[in-house]
C-alpha cells in the first residue's frame, strides 16, 4: 500500500478556514442549535480538505477525537458537507493508522483516511487534521509492513459533554516505555514529539508520527527506509516500516 496524496493542518491552519464558513448553516445546526463545540472544527476540517482530489476515491474512513454526534459519523458528515457520494464510515485506531495499514494490509484500493484531533483547552497537545490517500499501486511513500506491539489504556475522556470534558492520562506502563526506548534507539526512526521533548513543536493529539512523516518525507532520498513509531490514544504502540519512493 502507498500513500499517494496527503494534507495536514495544525490548529492555526484550520482556524484560517473558519472565516469562510460562518454563514454556512447545516441541518445539525438548525436542529440541535450547536453553534459551539466540535461542529465548528468539523466544518473547518471539511473546508480544509475540499481541495483534495477525490477522483477515484472509493471509500472514506474517518476518525475524530470525541465526536460531536454519534450518527452520522465524522466521515459521513464531512462528505455530506462536501456533497460527495462516496461510501464512508469511522474507524477508530486512536491515531495509529499507519501501523494498522502496515499490519492488516486492508484490501481497499484508493481510500482516504481523515483524522481530526481537537483539544480546546489542552496546553500540551496540538489540535490538527491529517488526510491521507492510500493507493495499492503507486505513491510517494510505500507502507512496507507494520505491527501493533502492545495496547493499554492511556487516555480517558470522562464526560459526554465536550465543553466540560476532562482528559486524564495514565502514564505508559514500564513495558510500553521499554519497547519505546528500544524502538527509538534504532536508526531512521520517526516517533512522537513528546518522546523527543522538543520545545519547538507540541505533539498532535492524534496521528503525530504520521504528520511528522508527511512533513519530512521530501527530505529523504528515494529508497530510504524509515521506521515510524506511533503511540495511540488507546495506548497502542505501533511500528511501521515505510520506504520513500
Amino acid at each position: 500500500m502507498y500513500i499517494s496524496d496527503f494534507i495536514f493542518f495544525d490548529r492555526e491552519a484550520l482556524l484560517r478556514h473558519d472565516g469562510f464558513l460562518r454563514e454556512k448553516k447545516t441541518n445539525l445546526f438548525n436542529t440541535l442549535e450547536e453553534e459551539n463545540g466540535l461542529l465548528r472544527w468539523y466544518k473547518m476540517a471539511a473546508h480544509s480538505i475540499s481541495n483534495l482530489n477525490f477522483e477515484n476515491v472509493s471509500l472514506v474512513i474517518g476518525e475524530a477525537l470525541d465526536p460531536s454526534f454519534r450518527s452520522p459519523t465524522f466521515s459521513q458528515w464531512l462528505l455530506s458537507f462536501l456533497g460527495l457520494q462516496i461510501p464512508a464510515f469511522d474507524f477508530v485506531t486512536g491515531g495509529t493508522i499507519l501501523s494498522f495499514v502496515g499490519m492488516y494490509k486492508p484490501q481497499f484500493d484508493n481510500f482516504l483516511y481523515v483524522g481530526l484531533g481537537v483539544i480546546e483547552r489542552e496546553h500540551d497537545f496540538e489540535s490538527g487534521l491529517v488526510a491521507i490517500r492510500f493507493n495499492s499501486s503507486e505513491g510517494c511513500v510505500k507502507i512496507v509492513d507494520g505491527e501493533i506491539l502492545y495496547t493499554e489504556k492511556i487516555l480517558r475522556f470522562n464526560n459526554h459533554c465536550f465543553e466540560d470534558c476532562e482528559l486524564t492520562y495514565s502514564a505508559p506502563s514500564a513495558e510500553t516505555l521499554g519497547l519505546l526506548k528500544e524502538l527509538v534507539d534504532t536508526e531512521h526512526s520517526i516517533y512522537p514529539w513528546f518522546i523527543r521533548n522538543c520545545p519547538r513543536y507540541k505533539p498532535f493529539i492524534i496521528n503525530d508520527s504520521a504528520i511528522q512523516l508527511l512533513r519530512t518525507a521530501k527530505d529523504f532520498v528515494s529508497g530510504t527506509k524509515l521506521k515510524v513509531i506511533e503511540v495511540g490514544l488507546n495506548g497502542a504502540l505501533g511500528v511501521t516500516t515505510v520506504e520513500i519512493c
Binding site: 469511522d90 495496547t151 459533554c161
Partner: protein
Amino acid sequence: MRFAKMEVLGIGHSYGDIALDNDFIESLDTGTTKEWILEKIGINQRRVTLPRDYIVTTRNKNPSECLRVRTKTWLDLSLEACEMAFSRSNLSPADIDLILVDCVTPDNFFPMPSQELKEKLGCFNAYAFDLVTACPAAALHLYFASRLQACWNTALLVTSATVSHAVNYNDRTDGAIWGDGAGSIIVSKKRKGKLRLLDTTFSGDPTRAESVIIHRRGHFWQDGRAVRNFSVRQTVRMIKEISSKYGLDFTKDIFIGHQANLTMLRQIGEAAGVPDENNWKNVERCGNQAAAGAIASLSERWDSLPAGRKILIAVLGAGLTWGTALFDVIS
C-alpha cells in the same frame, strides 16, 4: 481486491431487560394510540434499559439523567451477547485476535468501547478497534474483516446500542420505535463453523447523512418519512441484486433486514418476493435495536438453522449507509 473466506462459529444476542408494551406507550399521552402503532410501525413491544417510572415522570427530557437510573449499559448487553457467542462456538476469549465494535451510544469515546469490551471479556490476545456506522454495522464489520489480508484468524464482531437512552418520550413516534440490544458474531478464517460467508457488500450516500442524527448528549432525531421510503427502495434493490447474482430462491432461502419497523419489513418482503415465514424478524417483540437487530434475529434461530439454505442479511440505516452479507448454512 481479495476477499477472505470466513465462517461463522458462534453468534449471540441480548435485549434490554424492561418490556414496554403498546398500552404503556399509549399511556404516555403523546397522541399515539395502540392502533396507530400497529398500523404504522407494527411493533407490539420494545425491550429497553430504562425504568418505566423514569420514562413516565421525566420522558427522558435530559438524556444525561438516564445514565443514573438505567438498568444496563451497552457494555452489559454486549457482554451477554458475547458470552452466548462464546458458548455456542466452544471458544474462549483467548482465541480471539481481532475485535470490532459498533456502538453509537457509548459512555466514553476513550477508552474506546472496543477496548472496554476487550478488557471485560479478557480477550488479551486481540487488538480492538471501533468500526462505526450505526444500523448497517453488522454488514460493515463482515465486509471490513473480510478485506483485512493479514494478522487475524478469529474475530469477534459486536454491534450494540441503547438508543432508548437518547429517545425523547414526548415524541409520538420515537418512543414507540426504539429498543436496546446487542449482537455478537465470532468469525474465523481457519476454523470450521455453521455458516460460510459467500459475499458481503457495503456502500452509502453521505449526502443524506443528516437524515438520522444521534447527538452525543441530545435526543435521537430522524427524517422518518424520507428514511423509510429510501430504506424500502434500497433494501429491495439490494435483495434483487444479490438474488440475481447467486440465484437465491426465497421459497427456501432466508432474508433478514434492518429491524426498524415491521410494516416496512413486510413491504420489502412483498416487493422482493420473500414470503413472511422466510423474512426473519424480531422487531415486533423487541423494537428497533439499531445495528443489533439483524444479528439478534439470526442468533434467535442459531440452534435450528436450515442446512443447505442461504441467508441474506441486507441492512440499511444512518449515514445513510447500507450493506449485505450472504451466508450458506453448512451444518
